[in-house]
């Protein structure tokens, strides 16, 4: 007989509700509830802000996602609910955020399950013409999707499980949805954490070999690029042999510039002024978000390690194909999708 069973037998009949109340009081006095401390933690310093971004202690994905099952079990008067959800119950005791979410979800689900029984279907609001959501709401959705992907990856890392498929799907949705945002600066806000999350935990682009150059996408609209630097506008960007009317994606690494052009299905990378130690050598090109973007067939099949077709020229220039796609850069929405893919591009010696 297990300890568990022994105790059950010896406490049969169980204590009265009054006894439980007294035991609960004793427990609360003996065990300090430390979560209250976290509510008062100042996040004024930069370090703390950074930390807060990396570890969102107020969102506990593992418990949060159990809430609908827990609530439905309560609503169905499941006699084993306390056993099945004991860890969640413990967590709700000390986590005000999850407790708040529990109350909210319980209330909404309670109303929902009664909807068919006691009231006609809620139809208000269903017969209005669909309005395009404003950019700020789309930005929020993208941020939430990326944040959720990060939470999934962190939870999976902690549990030693594979959260990659779900995280990947969420990031892909954020990339696609963001392509609906016309303003480049606003799109930059929506995707500001994309590369960081996509490369979390041995993700894309992580190699032992440090990059010689790390290019970022240049968004030429209001708000500028991620690092807030002044961006030369497309019309003034110099690129030998690139017709001004040809759609181009612009990249920048400090003072270096690069472009990606399209010739029919082929995407071609053009770099200039590469380091002297790279000249005369082949290079490896890494596109960290490339594996998230399925419509491109990358040269060699691995967007994290595309070997240049030719060595870097003696003048530091390189022109090499990256892959093929049926998307067109002169289609605004498809161009936006391609741009996001090249949010970062790294070059290292082969």
């Amino acid at each position: 007989m297990t300890d568990h069973q022994q105790f059950e037998d010896k406490s049969n009949p169980p204590g009265s509700p009054g006894e439980y109340e007294r035991l609960a009081k004793w427990l609360k006095e003996t065990l300090p509830v430390t979560t209250l401390l976290s509510e008062n933690v100042s996040s004024s310093s930069d370090d703390e802000m950074e930390f807060e971004g990396l570890f969102d202690e107020t969102y506990h994905l593992h418990f949060y996602q159990q809430l609908p099952d827990f609530v439905i079990a309560l609503l169905k008067n499941d006699p084993l609910v306390n056993i099945r959800f004991a860890p969640l119950l413990y967590h709700l005791l000390i986590c005000p955020d999850c407790h708040r979410a529990y109350l909210e979800i319980y209330d909404a689900m309670r109303v929902a399950v009664q909807a068919d029984e006691i009231q006609p279907p809620v139809s208000q609001g269903l017969h209005f013409s669909v309005e395009p959501p404003p950019a700020r709401v789309v930005v929020h959705l993208c941020k939430v999707l990326i944040s959720q992907a990060e939470a999934v990856l962190r939870q999976a890392h902690r549990d030693h499980t594979n959260g990659d498929p779900l995280a990947r799907s969420l990031l892909q949705q954020a990339m696609r949805i963001s392509s609906r945002i016309a303003q480049n600066g606003v799109r930059g806000q929506a995707l500001e954490d994309l590369v960081r999350v996509a490369t979390l935990f041995n993700g894309a682009g992580v190699t032992d070999n440090p990059a010689a150059h790390s290019y970022s996408l240049q968004l030429t609209g209001s708000g500028g690029p991620r690092r807030g630097k002044t961006v030369r506008r497309a019309e003034t960007f110099r690129h030998a042999g690139s017709p001004t009317e040809q759609p181009v994606i612009y990249l920048r690494d400090s003072h270096l510039e690069g472009t990606i052009t399209q010739h029919e299905d082929s995407l071609e990378l053009h770099l200039e002024d590469l380091d002297e130690h790279l000249r005369g050598h082949y290079v490896i090109i890494t596109i960290p978000l490339g594996s998230l973007f399925e419509p491109v067939h990358w040269i060699g099949g691995n967007p994290h390690a595309i070997r240049s077709a030719v060595p870097v020229a003696e003048d530091g220039t390189l022109t090499t194909p990256l892959g093929e796609t049926t998307l067109r850069m002169n289609n605004p929405e498809e161009r936006n999708q391609l741009e996001v893919t090249f949010w970062r591009l790294e070059v290292r010696p082969a």
Binding site: H4, E8, A24, Y64, Q65, P87, E104, Q114, S123, V130
Partner: protein
Amino acid sequence: MPFSAHDLRYNLEANFPALYTYLHHRAQRFLGSLQFDADEVDQVVEHVIEQLVRLGVAGGGDEKPLTPLDSLTNAQFYAFLNRSVEHKAIDRLRKRRLLVSSFAELEKEGTEAENNPLNEVTESVWGAQPFPTPEEIALKLASTQELRVLLRHCIEALKKAPHQLQAVLQELEEFGTTALLRAVTEDLKETSYVPEASLANSSQHRDHAHKKLRICLQRKSSNLAVIVALRLTEYGEHTVSMHQEVTVDIQILAQDNLSEDDVRIGLKRLTAEGILNWHDEEIVHLTAVQKKRLRRFYKFE
């Protein structure tokens, strides 16, 4: 325009405008006098969107297991969304009410109940919810056998210190927790434990017993932050400086199935709790106050 939970799960991109339109319309309705405040409407809409994504209902696809929300009929799902919007709108109205000197104008907005959402929820937003407060959850927890088993083991571990054990048993008796007390005393019958007729300095013994109970519960915890907190207090005891500071090398903490990465994560969590002031150094510095707080740190997980 209608969309379903299934649509949001498998095709969020295409159905997001419809979801937004619905939520926006409902938010305006429930926000009453704030319905033309775009920021307030956005806050309500974005809250519900965030909730749907976090639950895996929006954008979860095949990768996220289905939830009870996916099993709702369309009418039920809209009722869920509607209520979620209403709840957040009420929350916003309440917060605004705290900011303005008079809330009377809200009551003058109209006679329809829908324009006065607070009217119907002033007394109780939650109705008959089973655990509206943490205290009620604690009560429920105390009635679960897992917790009682854990407590019983920790209390019985005190038998090497009979006075402390007796102090706790007296405390349980004072609290009237007879079922737990009976279970413990029956187990103790098989040991040589004999309580004294009267216990001197019982409060002192009780304090010591509480400390041991906390350590016992910490040791049984699988929470990373709790494990690291315990190790900090245990491994740092022999390195007290002149200023009552304690220093602990991270390498020392990373033992017994705990990697250095695990230790660092635990330290970061303790820092986030406000207990430590650690910035990724190799050596953790503790003040006496911090060490005391670490001893009392516990998280259920």
